[in-house]
Each structure stands twice: as structure tokens, then as C-alpha cells.
């Protein structure tokens, strides 16, 4: 849709009297919300950055460049780089199956997709300990073959994939359901194969919703603490992600460094929000 389409646009009109509240009530409500937002969102954000800069720019850069911090940043990026594309793939596949086809067990699949949301992240981590730990089901077998999953990068990646699984699928299912399958049917009747139908018809229709889901998925993949904390083993310079590194620094009373590294995650959150708003805006208008 282009800008000359004025559906829902046009000049804003104030609603007729009787459908709105008196000015005092409106102001009171608006102020309450703003105060709440300021106190619980903006203030902490400002605190993170001010604490990070407390000892000056040099100390900030030192904290971020320190080898253990660099290792944590690298591990976080690697984890996200593996888990986000995989979840992109699984999420699209699951949403496609659920939205466009009817099959037995569909509602069970929907419930399973929501499972990572409904389970506490710590439990999610423990699931992997139970599976791959030395006392776990697969632990001895893996140990005998010298394959390390727990307290190593594979465990962290697995836990992250598990926790971030629902984001893409949850974003796409309602979108794809509302779009129906007529366009796909039209494409197939016109002779398009499965791949052509997906890449030329389905994907362009869901691209902004997909981007939105990927952004949220990525934010969570980089910021995940609970599940990763259980499986990581907190080995400095090896199995610490940014959130775990922040916790260690904080527990060592190294506040400036802790906040400096934390500010990276906060920055990521701000960038995520900006891209997300952009995706939402494009999703609505284009």
C-alpha cells in the first residue's frame, strides 16, 4: 500500500463529547503512565549507562576490551548466530504447517511450541542437565565417546534454541492464518512448484512479521540468562555469555565493569526496539 491510500489515515478528529473523559482524568492517567514508565524503564536504563561511565571512558573501554569480556561477547554472538537461523527455519516450518494444513495432532504441536514460554528458563536448563549430564540419560554414552555438551558451547546453544523456539512461530502463525491459503492455491493452479510458491508468494507476504519474530528471537538469544546459566558451568573465557559475565563481575563488586558490559546488552535492546518498530511500521504499511 502506498501513501496515497488513506485507509485509517486522514486528519485526527477528537472524539465527540460523551465518548471521552474530562481533561483532568486524562491528564492524571497519562501522567501515571509516564511516571511508571520513567521509574521502571527509563531510570534503570539511564542508571546502567551512567554507572558504566562512572570511572570514565577509558575504564569503560578497558572493561569491554578485557579478554574475558571479549570471549563472552564472542560466545554470545556465536550462540545467536547458530540458534537464530535454526529457529528461523523451524519457526517458519512449524507456522507453515499449522497455518496452511490440517493434520491430526495440530493442537498438540501448538501447545508444544508454547512450552518454552510456559516453563521457567531454569527448568529448561535442567532438562538438558538431565539429558546430557553425567548422571543423565545420554551422559555416560557421550562421555565414553568424549563428546562434551554440558558446560560447553553445544549445551549453551541447545538451551538457547530451546528457550527462543516460540518467537518466530508465534509471530507467524496468526499472520499466516489470517492470510489464508488462497494465494498459495492460486500459485499452484498456475503451475508453480513448492519452492516457487514459498519464495515468490508466501515469503513476501510474511517478511515483515518474520523479521519482527527474528528480532525478538535474537534479543532473547543474546540476553538469555537462566537456562544458559544452568548448562554453562561459568568457565571464564570459555563458557560465559555476556549476561553470565555481567553477573560474575557484579558478584565481584566490580560494578563499573559489570555495568559497562551490561550497557552492551542495553544498547542491543535499544537497537532491537528501533528495528522492531521499523518492522512493525513496514508490516502495517507495506
Amino acid at each position: 500500500m502506498k501513501s496515497w491510500e488513506t485507509t485509517g489515515g486522514g486528519k485526527k478528529k477528537s472524539p465527540p463529547k460523551g465518548l471521552t473523559e474530562p481533561a483532568a482524568v486524562r491528564w492524571a492517567l497519562t501522567c501515571t503512565v509516564l511516571l511508571f514508565l520513567g521509574f521502571f524503564l527509563l531510570l534503570p536504563l539511564a542508571a546502567v549507562f551512567s554507572q558504566a561511565m562512572e570511572k570514565g571512558m577509558a575504564a569503560y573501554l578497558a572493561a569491554v576490551r578485557e579478554p574475558e569480556a571479549v570471549a563472552a561477547i564472542r560466545l554470545t554472538l556465536v550462540t545467536a548466530a547458530i540458534s537464530v537461523p535454526l529457529n528461523l527455519f523451524f519457526g517458519v516450518a512449524a507456522a507453515w504447517a499449522i497455518a496452511k494444513f490440517d493434520f491430526p495432532g495440530k493442537s498438540l504441536l501448538l501447545t508444544l511450541i508454547d512450552l518454552p514460554f510456559s516453563v521457567s528458563p531454569v527448568i529448561s536448563g535442567l532438562i538438558f542437565v538431565l539429558l546430557f549430564g553425567l548422571q543423565g540419560w545420554l551422559g555416560p554414552w557421550l562421555a565414553s565417546r568424549d563428546i562434551q555438551i554440558l558446560f560447553a558451547v553445544p549445551g549453551i546453544v541447545l538451551a538457547t534454541i530451546f528457550v527462543t523456539f516460540p518467537f518466530v512461530a508465534r509471530e507467524l502463525i496468526p499472520l499466516m492464518q489470517s492470510q489464508g491459503k488462497e494465494e498459495e492455491e492460486a500459485a499452484i493452479v498456475l503451475g508453480a512448484g513448492g519452492f516457487a510458491t514459498f519464495f515468490r508468494v508466501t515469503l513476501p507476504n510474511i517478511k515483515w512479521g518474520l523479521l519482527y519474530g527474528v528480532i525478538l528471537c535474537n534479543a532473547r538469544a543474546m540476553g538469555e540468562f537462566g537456562a544458559v546459566s544452568v548448562v554453562s558451568g561459568h568457565i571464564r573465557g570459555a563458557t560465559n555469555t555476556i549476561p553470565l559475565h555481567v553477573e560474575i563481575l557484579y558478584n565481584e563488586y566490580n560494578y563499573a565493569a559489570a555495568f559497562a558490559v551490561a550497557s552492551l546488552l542495553a544498547l542491543l535492546a535499544l537497537v532491537t526496539l528501533a528495528v522492531k518498530s521499523f518492522a512493525e511500521w513496514r508490516g502495517r504499511t507495506g
Partner: protein, 357 residues
């Protein structure tokens, strides 16, 4: 290409969408599948297209069994009720889609595709809108784009699912005349689904009336309209008056009217229903005949080519609808509340045990 449907059944869960449906569409004809919603007409259309698989029975294209053939190999054009245009593509790209996704060896060159699309745009009278997006078009324009898109791949069969269902009355009439002209030009075997009897009567060469998953009558528009095979078709095609009575040994008695019914010669005293079209109710101011029914005019709708009267029978209190030509209406100078004598002509009587409605 001719289409044959041979004893097709289709169930959705426990719901029978089609029961033992057989149908023959000769090559080059324009056939309407007409019926109320839930009658199975869209399911039948989708089975012809290959978008649904019949539980059993066969679909035969041009004498060749095509039941197992994949949708994309059936060479059908399908026009969806809600257009199903690709919303992120321009009109041009929508129409070109079917050509662009052909395997490389069959795919026309870019310039050939462009020429073909422009030819189609001309055919559907949308030459100036090639760069527009579906959201920028009116309903009628979208439907024509959908038709051009379906025709681009030169289908052997054109299938249209309630093609004008979502359009307003004027555009509907315009577009269905245009479709009729288009069919006369390109002669592709076409089947369209509609619940609008007027549309079917005006456009189709042949009408297939469906109800509850079965074909209840097939024929030319005249046959179906003038000689409905059963009460359902009578009710569905146009307004009709009902008269109740009994049949006994080849004679129907509907009140004071008696009609010879040799086909019911064996029937002994069975309830019956007679059907009379409103324009077959003759109105007079004086009694000419003992069969006439005395009635009061309850309501007159005098606008339009015919005047519609709502009559209340003085004997039973039942309502009769009558249609008079404008000339006859003026001649009689009828007013609301007048007493008149109504005489039904061309009554068709069915024993009610045969049909439940």
C-alpha cells in the same frame, strides 16, 4: 476440452459434501453450478481443479482419467471468489506469474511474456493499470486481473468460484455480460459456481442445480426455469406460490381446482403441493370461472416493469403473490384493499411424499 465427473463422493469429517455426483461438460460450454450454500458446488469445482481429492469416483478430462493428476499439471485456470491476487505484486507481475514459473525450457522470453501480458490487459480492459497493486484496484478490476492471470497460461478449462459474489449489483451485471462475451470469443470450457439464479440464467449455456451434495437437475436455462424437476428447483429458481391439496388416482385436487396427472395414476390419496409462478396468477375483477380464488389485495409494489401484488385468500387466509404487466395493472386500476379473483395457470403438482423441503 470436455470434463466428465463419474460418481464422485466427498466427505468432510461426517459431512457429505458430494454424493454420487456425475456430470458431463462438453468442450467449449459455459456451465453454471447453481445451488444454495452447502450444496457442494464449490467442492465439485475444487475437485475438478484438483484442489480437493474425491474420496472415490473419477475426474476425466478429454477422455483421459485425471483424478490422480496434480493440480499444476491439469492446465486449469481458477478464479477465486476473493480474487486471491498476489498482494505484493503489481498487476503486471500477477498476470505474468503463471508464465514466469514455467520450467526454463517452456518459459517464454521476457519480451514474449510482456507482449502476452499486455494482450491480456487489453482483453480485460485494464491497459493503464499494469503498475498498480491489487490494493489500489476496485473489486471489479481485481476480478478482471484474476481472470487475466488465469487465462495467461492458456488453460484448457476455466473454473470460476462465485466470480461476482463479492461485487456490488451494478458491477456484477456488467461483469457477467462481459464474461459471456469473453467466453463467446475464446470458447474455453468453463464452469462457474454461483448461488445467484439470475446470474446462472443469464450467463450459462447449461445450468446444473445442486442441493445437499447431489445434482438435482441439469439443463438449458429455459428447461430448468420452465420445467423444474422437483419442488426444490421450483423454490430455488425464482418466486413461487404453493398450493396444498391431494392426489388420487391420477387427479390432483387443489381446493376447487382439479388437474389431470396421468404420471400419478397409481397414487392413492396422497398429499400434494402445487407450484405456480407469480406471473402465472391471472387477476380479474369479476368471477369468470368457479376455480378462481377470491382474495384481497394486501400490498401493491407498482414500481418497475411488472407490478407485484400480495393477495390474501379469503377462503384459507393464505398469501398469494402475483405479477402483472404494467399495462394490465393500469387497465384494472387496482388499489390496496380491493377484492379480486385470482386464477392460477400452469400449476405443477408434486406428491409431497417424494420430496421433503
Amino acid at each position: 476440452m470436455s470434463i466428465q465427473i463419474d460418481r464422485v463422493n466427498k466427505k468432510f469429517g461426517s459431512f457429505y459434501a458430494l454424493r454420487e455426483v456425475s456430470l458431463n461438460v462438453p468442450a467449449g460450454e459455459l456451465v453454471a453450478l447453481l445451488g444454495p450454500s452447502g450444496s457442494g458446488k464449490t467442492t465439485l469445482l475444487r475437485i475438478i481443479a484438483g484442489l480437493e481429492i474425491p474420496d472415490d469416483g473419477a475426474v476425466i478430462f478429454h477422455g483421459e482419467e485425471a483424478t490422480a493428476r496434480h493440480v499444476r499439471e491439469r492446465q486449469v485456470g481458477f478464479v477465486f471468489q476473493h480474487y486471491a491476487l498476489f498482494r505484493h505484486m503489481s498487476v503486471f507481475d500477477n498476470i505474468a506469474f503463471g508464465l514466469q514459473v514455467k520450467p526454463r525450457r517452456d518459459r517464454p522470453s521476457k519480451s514474449e511474456i510482456r507482449a502476452r501480458v499486455h494482450e491480456l490487459l487489453k482483453l480485460v480492459q485494464l491497459e493503464n493499470l499494469a503498475e498498480r497493486y491489487p490494493a489500489q484496484l476496485s473489486g471489479g478490476q481485481r476480478q478482471r486481473v484474476a481472470l487475466a492471470r488465469a487465462l495467461a497460461v492458456e488453460p484448457k478449462v476455466l473454473l470460476l468460484d462465485e466470480p461476482f459474489g463479492a461485487l456490488d449489483a451494478r458491477v456484477r451485471v456488467e461483469l457477467r455480460r462481459w464474461l459471456r462475451r469473453l467466453h463467446d470469443e475464446i470458447h474455453v470450457t468453463s464452469v462457474f459456481v454461483t448461488h445467484d439464479q439470475e446470474e446462472a440464467l443469464e450467463v450459462a449455456d447449461r445450468i446444473v442445480v445442486m442441493n445437499e451434495g447431489r445434482i438435482v437437475q441439469e439443463g438449458t436455462p429455459e428447461e430448468v426455469y420452465d420445467r423444474p424437476a422437483n419442488p426444490f428447483v421450483y423454490n430455488f429458481l425464482g418466486n413461487v406460490n404453493l398450493f396444498h391439496g391431494r392426489i388420487d388416482k391420477g387427479e390432483a385436487r387443489m381446493g376447487k381446482i382439479s388437474i389431470d396427472l396421468p404420471e400419478y395414476g397409481e397414487t392413492a390419496d396422497s398429499p400434494a403441493v402445487g407450484y405456480v409462478r407469480p406471473y402465472d396468477i391471472e387477476i380479474g375483477l369479476t368471477r369468470q370461472n368457479p376455480e378462481e380464488i377470491e382474495a384481497l389485495i394486501r400490498h401493491i409494489q407498482g414500481a418497475g416493469a411488472v407490478a407485484r401484488l400480495e393477495l390474501e385468500r379469503l377462503d384459507t387466509g393464505g398469501i398469494i403473490e402475483a405479477e402483472l404487466t404494467r399495462g394490465r395493472f393500469r387497465e384494472l386500476q387496482l388499489r390496496q384493499g380491493d377484492k379480486v379473483f385470482a386464477r392460477p395457470r400452469n400449476m405443477r403438482v408434486f406428491a409431497t411424499e417424494d420430496y421433503q423441503i
